[in-house]
């Protein structure tokens, strides 16, 4: 991920998430279930697979989670929109990186991604979307960890 220089304003995304976290996590009625379980998938990813995993998870959120979540509160909608459009921009940036063949996808990343999709499919779609939104901090922290050293490049 270090070579895929993404000039992303992570602070802005994290700030937007802090604005929705309490309200979204309060709607999550299944606290004992997780979708982005850190122990199983994300934290076992090696740096070599970080770019591909980021790409896969951005697609997970853009193509599934944000679509499956219907938000009526204008203030929450603003912040979710901010995150969704930032993820869309990140996707485009990583896409350029992928075209320069700097974003290989190995089996490990593919397996980890499938676990997350499988976890998502186990739940009713609205509940799955709410839980995934509430777990965004896991993904953002993981990006931060893998993103260190490029933000000041």
């Amino acid at each position: 991920l270090r070579r895929c220089l993404i000039s992303i304003d992570m602070h802005r995304i994290e700030e937007s998430f802090r604005g929705i976290k309490k309200a979204i996590q309060a709607k999550d009625t299944m606290q004992n279930v997780t979708i982005l379980s850190p122990s199983e998938s994300l934290h076992s990813i090696k740096p070599l697979d970080a770019c591909c995993m980021t790409k896969n998870l951005l697609a997970f959120y853009v193509d599934r989670v944000f679509k499956d979540h219907q938000e009526l509160d204008p203030q929450l909608l603003r912040k979710i929109s901010s995150i969704a459009n930032s993820f869309l921009y990140m996707q485009k940036t990583l896409q350029q990186c992928h075209e320069q063949r700097l974003c290989h996808c190995r089996q490990e990343a593919t397996n980890a991604t499938r676990i997350i999709h499988d976890n998502y499919d186990q739940l009713e779609v609205r509940s799955a979307a709410i839980k995934s939104l509430g777990e965004l901090d896991i993904f953002l922290a993981w990006i931060d960890k893998n993103h260190q050293g490029t933000s000041d490049a």
Binding site: I8, L77, N85, L88
Partner: protein, 204 residues
């Protein structure tokens, strides 16, 4: 929902300078009445995946003004659709939509304002505070043949910053430009400003 009898606002455009984005429009004229306007936006995500979703602007839903600061609404470097409508009592106009989506990477970046001062033998610069998205590249040199140019990155602006300890009798010059990481662009350099240090220049 009010019947659309009011004319829709016209001449919608965006002026964007140094990452401050303002949407403007022409007034809807109704003699002796106060007309209100509402602004809504949708990012590329909404237009691609949820085109029915429009989000009320943070500051201007509604407003009586003819402009709206949409800086807090435009939070990603993707195209945004923007629209405005007029309201008078129960009467509501149709929406007028900005002809071309706005992307903040088109903002006009102008060279930063700066104050170059001497504090004794210390060369000090204070840069304009343009907000957290801005970094400053400051170039400074001693004005003499073959002088080497030094560069420092300053973030944020608004705070005096020591650049160099100067030698008596010498003249030092400074120029600066901005960099916005979120859009990956620089401004032009400012005009160079020079200061001369008191005293005799040291023998070589």
């Amino acid at each position: 929902d009010g019947v659309a009898v009011l004319p829709a606002p016209q001449n919608i455009s965006v002026q964007s300078t140094n990452m401050k984005h303002v949407l403007t429009w022409s007034p809807v004229m109704v003699p002796e009445e106060i007309v209100y306007y509402s602004v809504e936006y949708q990012g590329e995500y909404e237009s691609l995946y949820m085109s029915h979703i429009w989000i009320p602007s943070n500051w201007c839903s509604p407003t009586t003004g003819l402009e709206c600061d949409i800086t807090d609404d435009i939070t990603a470097t993707v195209p945004y659709n923007l629209r405005v409508r007029a309201t008078l009592g129960s009467q509501t106009s149709a929406w007028s939509t900005l002809k071309h989506p706005f992307n903040r990477n088109s903002t006009t970046l102008i060279p930063p304002g700066m104050e170059v001062t001497k504090d004794g033998f210390h060369l000090v610069i204070k840069l304009e505070d343009l907000g957290p998205q801005f970094e400053f590249f400051v170039a400074y040199w001693r004005r003499e043949p073959g002088a080497k140019e030094h560069v420092k990155v300053v973030r944020p602006g608004g705070i005096p910053m020591h650049l160099e300890t100067m030698e008596p009798g010498a003249t030092y010059c400074v120029k600066a430009r901005t960099f916005v990481k979120a859009i990956g662009r620089y401004s032009a350099f400012s005009q160079a400003e020079c200061v001369k240090v008191q005293g005799e220049s040291l023998p070589l």
